[in-house]
């Protein structure tokens, strides 16, 4: 009896997160290739309506667990519930996003299940013996490791933007299984007192399709407004180099690089970034890189697909205007 693929779905503001749609799309492709069932798991409160979205994106079955204790993610409660579901379902592999939740949940859950977990994977392949292999960056992308495990199930967190999203099919139906949450008392020790979301109209940095990023040449925090105008014109997130963050121009959460976030957008626009090795590690797997820098010798040009040697204070506003004109 072939075992299935399980995807732990994540919702934000009442919608499935983009990475969850990516996992369902890739899960569907793998399931079709290997003749497996694709099951989505939804944990939370008042989230049942998202089962239809998961179905349209390729799930054969959706397990829904609604409980007040699952409203906000906590390591313990989610581990408790998923441990039971996974033991019962006995899947071949469990995918989750390499998000704030996935990074925290996967190791705890893997330890409880007594299995291995592949963190922050960017590709999943099936080898000649039908075994899954995972490709994951090490040294923040300065190198890659191919990993595999004999233990089942395999847990894997997948980096956002690694898989393309299949167009949803609204006619697709899935079997919806409602389960009750059984949570061990020992798993309810940590209590979420408050969740603070910073309102932003821009996409989350690690999810974003386009990132506009600034370096030391931004000179101060105010000048980032130039990048924000460009970002808002093309629907991009804002990033920053370590030099810009260490100089106090931008908060740490915007930092891209080995000691910040690792990103893989479709388009990365580096403005006034020299291209230190630790920055290149964090954005080198972007599909397309544009560099704007005054210094023609800047290292960033060695990785950029397109470059303009020039003053970012002149080039960036022109770029914003040109995009406005072309996108109007």
């Amino acid at each position: 009896m072939p075992k299935g693929i399980l995807v732990v779905l994540e919702q934000y503001n009442g919608e499935l997160r983009k990475v969850s749609l990516e996992l369902l799309s890739e899960g569907r492709r793998l399931a079709d290739a290997a003749g497996l069932t694709l099951t989505g798991v939804l944990l939370g409160q008042e989230i049942k309506n998202l089962a239809a979205v998961a179905a349209s994106q390729g799930a054969d079955r959706v397990i829904v667990v609604e409980d007040a204790a699952l409203k906000d993610y906590t390591t313990g409660a989610y581990t408790s519930v998923l441990n039971r579901i996974i033991r019962q379902e006995d899947p071949e592999v469990v995918f989750m996003g390499n998000t704030g939740m996935g990074r925290d949940l996967a190791p705890r859950l893997a330890q409880r299940l007594g299995v291995g977990s592949a963190s922050d994977c960017v590709a999943v392949t099936v080898d000649s013996t039908y075994k899954l292999r995972f490709r994951r960056p090490i040294y923040a992308g300065k190198a890659y490791a191919e990993v595999a495990t004999e233990a089942r199930p395999i847990l894997a967190t997948i980096r956002p933007n690694s898989f393309s999203i299949t167009p949803p099919n609204p006619d697709r139906q899935a079997e919806v299984v409602e389960a009750t949450a059984t949570i061990d008392a020992n798993d309810l020790q940590a209590i979420v007192k408050e969740v603070v979301r910073q309102a932003s109209s821009r996409p989350e940095l690690t999810d974003a399709n386009i990132i506009v990023s600034g370096g030391r040449a931004m000179k101060n925090a105010e000048n980032f407004r130039l990048l924000e105008e460009l970002a808002d014109t093309i629907g991009a997130a804002i990033g920053a180099s370590r030099a810009a963050v260490d100089s106090g121009y931008r908060e740490y959460k915007y930092q891209v690089g080995q000691t910040g976030k690792t990103v893989a957008p479709t388009l990365y626009i580096a403005c006034g970034i020299s291209g230190a090795i630790q920055h290149l590690a964090g954005m080198g797997s972007s599909k397309f890189i544009v560099a704007i820098n005054k210094d023609p010798e800047a290292n960033i040009f060695t990785v950029a697909d397109y470059g303009i040697v020039g003053d970012l204070y002149e080039i960036v506003p022109l770029l914003t205007e040109e995009f406005k004109k072309q996108l109007a």
């Binding site: 409880r112 291995g116 300065k142």
Partner: protein
């Protein structure tokens, strides 16, 4: 108790040797940057509440160097776990071995970095908490302790959350938790006299052949360097023209917008 790891410097270039492994020859080794926040937080807790900070690391031949750095910062005792049989251990084995060492030392809280910048797996501290059956909170930017409870601020995607958790617990440090101190000259002198114990598998009641050390779950099949990116096209011309050409290239050639 602070668990830390020795890693390559962030400036290090990665080279793969003829055995297909990462070559550490000539690479400058540092304390994993996120572990510095954990060590600093441990020392601050000691300064506020008293007690003792023990730093623990499993690593290679030079692991004592980072432990000495932590002692010079102000930690009191250090334990190094070194055994050739542990080379290349996965997260499962590492957590199991650390748990063995931790269980022999009384602790109120375990601190560690949220991720190691080398393997980037961010699993070991959380696995350790599961083995010890205590709660864990990862990626913490603020830690307040009152009686036997901690109130922590944790980084989440697009914001933060405040969590209350009873101690003992495992807390992993995110940048922003504190500003790690540099070891002072006096600190470095004092560190030389502090206790640094080196344990091998036998000291922990383990062996190279038992189920703990043989229990690795993940196998690394291959390491490789990313495909080298080619520098592309420099767009020449007057700024306005260059920008127009760039936008056209992005929309028509690359089709990324």
């Amino acid at each position: 108790m602070v668990c830390l790891k020795q890693t390559f410097d962030t400036e290090a270039k990665i080279v793969i040797n003829s055995q297909g492994k990462i070559d550490s020859t000539g690479v400058n080794l540092i304390m994993n940057p996120y572990d510095e926040f954990a060590v600093e937080e441990g020392i601050r807790l000691k300064e506020k509440f008293g007690g003792e900070v023990t730093v623990l690391s499993m690593g290679g031949a030079k692991v004592n160097e980072v432990l000495r750095t932590a002692l010079a910062m102000g930690a009191d005792k250090a334990v190094a776990i070194q055994d050739p049989a542990l080379e290349g251990s996965d997260e499962w084995v590492t957590a199991a071995v650390l748990a063995k060492a931790v269980q022999a030392i009384p602790f109120d809280i375990i601190l560690s970095g949220r991720i190691a910048i080398d393997d980037g797996s961010s699993q070991v501290p959380t696995r350790l908490a599961e083995i010890l059956s205590i709660p864990s909170v990862s990626s913490v930017t603020e830690l307040k302790i009152e009686d036997k409870n901690a109130t922590v601020t944790r980084d989440i995607d697009g914001g933060s959350e405040i969590i209350e958790v009873p101690l003992p617990a495992v807390i992993t440090a995110q940048k922003g938790l504190n500003e790690p101190r540099y070891p002072s000259v006096a600190g470095i002198m004092k560190a030389k006299k502090k206790e640094l114990k080196t344990l091998n598998l036998a000291d922990l009641g383990l062996s190279a052949a038992d189920s703990v050390t043989q229990g690795a779950k993940m196998k690394v099949l291959q390491v490789s360097l990313p495909p080298a990116r080619q520098g592309g096209r420099l767009i020449q011309g007057e700024p306005a023209q260059a920008v127009a050409d760039l936008v056209m290239a992005l929309m028509k050639e690359a089709k990324v917008i």
